[in-house]
């Protein structure tokens, strides 16, 4: 405990906690929507797109990579979430195609045009997060706070509309809801969260932040509101526990948080099983 208090005196640890909590909260809220719409894998696909965009930004020597990464990820999210009835390549196939394509091109570009002396380190930290969350600058923390606040406000203010579009898009459309607009908003929010979460767990592990809290909540609760609340609490607690363990034990931050997510899901599953008997 003394060690933890000592570590909390470091500004970068406090920044990491703030950003980690915000990312966990936002990702869990949207996670429920994505899981219910059978878009669980979209986080993975978009994170690979973000990796590809990061590679391009690195090659271009951009100091603020978010300037490029965020718009590219948003555009990809919009393309992926667009109603796909008339598309020749649909749903999961499209996600897989964009995902592996972006990953391959990203790594290829970094290999061919890398300006870094530690290519494997750059790739590794982008894919697995490394200690990125502990090396954030003040401006990055503020950017994260502002974007998270926007996502949270949108989620709260548009709760009813997102709920309607999530459960029955056709019905929502029939009663006059502009589903296209709300799909676009959801897509933008997903992209923003993916870009932010790359700092926390890296691009390969982002899906865990989206899927595990929602699935854990769904094991225990059935109502949409309760699932949303439990999912948020679960995600924030697990993220804090993961970060604390990581800082104290010197383990990789991203994989520790995801491991805590898996254990948390296991506990929820066990609780649900025991309760049902």
């Amino acid at each position: 405990m003394e060690q933890l208090i000592l570590y909390l005196r470091y500004p970068f640890v406090r920044y990491a906690m703030i950003v980690g909590v915000l990312i966990a909260l936002c990702s869990s809220l949207l996670g429920v929507t994505l899981v219910l719409r059978r878009f669980s894998f979209i986080g993975d696909g978009l994170s690979h797109v973000a990796f590809g965009a990061t590679a391009i930004a690195s090659v271009m020597n951009l100091m603020e990579k978010t300037i490029l990464v965020l718009p590219v990820t948003v555009i990809s999210a919009v393309l992926l979430l667009r109603s796909g009835e008339h598309r020749k390549v649909k749903g999961d196939a499209l996600i897989a195609m964009i995902s592996v394509g972006a990953l391959a091109f990203g790594y290829l570009l970094m290999n061919l045009f890398s300006t870094s002396s530690n290519l494997s380190g750059d790739v590794c930290s982008t894919l697995f997060g490394s200690t990125s969350i502990l090396t954030l600058t003040t401006s990055e923390v503020w950017l994260c706070v502002v974007l998270s606040a926007i996502v949270l406000c949108a989620e709260v203010l548009l709760y009813n509309k997102i709920f309607a579009v999530t459960f029955d898009e056709e019905f929502a459309k029939a009663v006059g809801t502009d589903t296209g607009k709300y799909n676009l908003i959801i897509a933008v929010m997903i992209a923003v969260i993916i870009v932010l979460a790359m700092n926390l767990v890296g691009s390969l592990l982002i899906s865990a932040l989206v899927i595990f809290p929602a699935l854990s909540a769904m094991r225990i609760f059935k109502s949409y509101r309760k699932v949303m609340i439990f999912s948020s609490v679960f995600s924030v607690c697990v993220a804090v526990i993961g970060m604390v363990i990581s800082i104290l034990a010197g383990t990789p931050v991203g994989s520790t948080i995801v491991a805590a997510d898996v254990i948390g899901y296991g506990c929820c599953w066990l609780y649900a099983e025991v309760r049902s008997r």
Partner: protein, 184 residues
């Protein structure tokens, strides 16, 4: 523009981690006139071949006439994740640590710059994924004779020194001056 020197510092640190050659039989010493070079030159002039250095000699603290009772930034008790983040912080915000006594532990590595004919010594720590590394250069006190009293590359070391800045070829670099090694 201010970021440029920091980038060079970071790149140099990474170079130490990834590209530092092991010294062989033909060790050359610094003759460029920089601080470390002068010390090494004086101590190495009579040396004609590399001597085998025992572990006891490498980590001997009896060599150091300098000692630090008060350490401003002690990284030795921190977890590897914390050390990596704090060293990153030092490298990115060096002005905040100028003149402070820093104690750190990590892997000893050395780097010979052929163009400048200068040896550099640094303490490297790796992140939890072991794919990234951060390091701080140090200059040991004159009590340490190279290579007898220097560690072998890859050794675990504890080094304490005063964080300072110097310029080389017009670029700023950061180092722990008047550094001493402690018992591991």
């Amino acid at each position: 523009m201010r970021l440029k020197p920091l980038i060079y510092t970071a790149v140099l640190s990474l170079l130490f981690a990834g590209c530092a050659p092991r010294y062989g039989a033909n060790i050359q010493v610094d003759t460029s006139g920089s601080g470390i070079g002068q010390v090494l030159e004086e101590r190495m002039e009579e040396e004609t071949k590399v001597k085998e250095v025992s572990e006891a000699e490498v980590h001997s603290t009896a060599l150091a006439s300098t000692s630090y009772d008060l350490v401003d930034v002690d990284l030795t008790g921190l977890s590897s994740t914390m050390v990596y983040a704090e060293v990153y912080n030092i490298v990115m915000n060096p002005d905040e640590y100028m003149g402070k006594v820093i104690c750190m532990d990590g892997m000893y590595t050395e780097f010979y710059n052929e163009a400048l004919d200068v040896w550099y010594f640094s303490c490297i720590i790796q992140d939890a994924l072991a794919c990234c590394a951060q390091g701080i250069e140090f200059v040991l006190t004159e009590d340490y004779i190279y290579p007898e009293n220097y560690p072998t590359e890859g050794d675990y070391i504890i080094v304490t020194g005063i964080f300072d800045r110097y310029e080389e070829n017009g670029f700023p670099y950061y180092t722990l001056r008047e550094a001493v090694l402690s018992e591991a």
